[in-house]
Symmetry: none
Subunit: 375 residues, 2 copies
């Protein structure tokens, strides 16, 4: 048996002292140490402290000039920021580290957590999808998240605009986990500041990034492996072709997770990614029941029937309202009153805007008070 093979059967022993945790964080924050290297170093050197001592010489041997391990002041600052944000460090191998994640070859060695870590023990479903989702997509995300919550599932998502936001909001009362791309204390996008605060109060925010780090493009795919890694299944609610959600779905398949997708009409570009996934073998989702049915294991009776909280938004008007209406309509017709609820505006405001758009030929009215984009 080779060392590599051995390693996968050798559980990482978590840090037991404050000093040990400090060294873990310092090793992880040192240059060129990713999750896999971290585990290898720990295995080869027995402890983070030993690994830190050996790192400069290893770097020199590998031809890296002037390598320095992470200065202790950086770690002190991170721990201070974590205390201020009331964040807690979850370490791979500890009892509070999410079980599902430990199985991944690139599991994050440490995660910052703000909120109720106990919900990591519940069965969970990841929901991902387009930031610029349609009104139909947002409604679908809300419906699925509400019903999955009622059936005892925690909803995991990424706190982004669109589908993520709808899913988190609908699952606030039943349990939701937001995995952040930047630091666990850095809310992005800013419009989700209230939502992020609510999630920290009733659910959980998680991040593998250092405290205070602004999310950058490269953080998002790394973050997405944690979203799917935490869950039993990943539901793609609305996704265009070549979207980030599609990449998450493929990663989820690599992780051995169930991948499911909500279909849409082929003329709706926002459904192209989901339809592609279904053609490739993802399970077609019409309802939460379809999700539960697709799981290899059924959940325990974790029923919670409290109603989700509907958020309020500032009222829109003029061109902003027109844009908002157009962004929420697609080729599939939806009801006018549903649209009004989705925009969180009054019928008195939306009505005239609809007439404008209809006269302008941008939208169409159909029998039964239904509206759609003009083809």
């Amino acid at each position: 048996m080779t060392e590599e093979q051995l390693s996968s059967y050798h559980p990482t022993l978590p840090p037991t002292t404050e000093e040990d945790r400090f060294s873990w964080l310092r090793l992880l924050r040192s240059r060129k140490v990713g999750p896999a290297t971290f585990r290898r170093l720990l295995r080869e050197h027995g402890s983070a402290q030993n690994a830190l001592a050996a790192l400069p010489e290893m770097a020199r041997a590998a031809g890296i000039e002037g390598y320095e391990i992470c200065p202790p002041g950086v770690i002190e600052a991170e721990l201070k920021a974590a205390r201020a944000a009331n964040a807690r460090l979850l370490c791979l191998g500890s009892a509070d580290f999410p079980n599902q994640l430990s199985d991944l070859s690139d599991a994050p060695p440490m995660l910052w957590a703000i909120g109720d870590v106990s919900i990591l023990r519940k069965p969970s479903i990841a929901m991902v999808g387009a930031r610029n989702c349609s009104s139909l997509g947002a409604r679908m995300a809300r419906g699925l998240a509400t019903d999955l919550g009622k059936q005892g599932f925690v909803v995991v998502s990424g706190l982004a605009r669109g589908i993520d936001t709808s899913a988190h909001l609908a699952a606030l009362s039943t349990g939701t986990v937001a995995v952040m791309a930047g630091g666990v204390d850095v809310i992005y996008p800013a419009e989700n500041t209230d939502l992020a605060r609510d999630i920290a109060q009733s659910g959980l925010r998680l991040s593998e990034q250092p405290m205070g780090i602004n999310p950058q493009a490269r953080h998002f795919p790394r973050r997405n492996r944690i979203i799917s890694g935490l869950a039993q299944a990943v539901v793609v609610v609305e996704a265009a072709a070549k979207s980030g959600s599609l990449i998450t779905a493929r990663d989820a398949l690599d992780q051995g997770r169930e991948v499911l997708a909500v279909p849409g009409h082929p003329f709706d570009a926002r459904a192209a990614g989901c339809n592609l996934l279904i053609r490739d073998g993802a399970t077609l989702v019409r309802s939460a029941d379809d999700v539960v049915e697709a799981l290899p294991q059924q959940p325990a009776d974790l029923l919670d029937t409290t109603e989700p909280v509907e958020p309020s938004k500032p009222a829109l008007s003029g061109a902003a309202l027109h844009r908002e209406i157009l962004s929420r309509l697609g080729p599939s017709p939806i009801a006018e009153d549903q649209l009004i609820r989705d925009i969180a505006a009054t019928a008195g405001d939306v009505g005239p805007a609809l007439v404008d758009l209809e006269l302008d030929g941008q939208i169409q009215r159909q029998p039964g008070g239904l509206l759609s984009l003009t083809a």
Copy 2:
């Protein structure tokens, strides 16, 4: 080997004389004689005439009082109506009877046909769906039928409102078959009178029912087995749960046909049937390419290469000839002389056209005089 087993290996011999055809029709129109009984009687008694002679005694033995075979006047009237409608009788086992249908255990022994029976030799796709389809569904049907037509497929449907109408209209110029629930001369719904006339002119209308019969509810499922039976694949474009299209789809599966469905958003009730089919294993369709890709055989292989009965069709030339050649070729090579017979043109016309297309890089010559489309 039992008689039943033998029967499946025993081809039905078609009628060869006018008198024989008369007896076939008379046997088929006699009470309690369906497609399966018709075949059994023919097999057991050697000819329709013998079967007719034996029927009353068989009925008596089975406890049916006062059984009478169909009076000759009824058949004379049907034949007269057929002459008036310019309808032609296709008999199971004849060269002009559609090959695909012959394979069915409940294949209709006879079909009335108005139009160009030669298109029954082309590969064909059935398109079915809701009568009260959405405009999105109608557009999808038009797009699919147009593109399938361009790729050399005949579009088979049922002349109903909605999806059927859209599919027929879009495929008028490339070839379409309407299978009627009532008599081939009875247009239902009346609003499709012009369409039915156009189909008879450029395509084909078919029915197993007697001339002049108004369609009744029980005729539709019987008719649907012919729609799916004629085609290599059945595409369900838009269908609610518990709809007739769904029944057609299940029958098609029983017939060993590919079943495909166009997805829609779960909130759209008109997509519920299609989404259900996809969950149950139907192939998700976004475009004509998805349909062609799902076929077990590619178009060129599907061409019926038996000798055409009718020397038919005016000679093609120029661009029309080029198009015709390209529509008949696929990636799998076929023989040049077969191609010439299929097009019903002369080698003197086809030869130069092939050289043009070959120089143009559109087709390839292979050893043994075989031709294929350039990959």
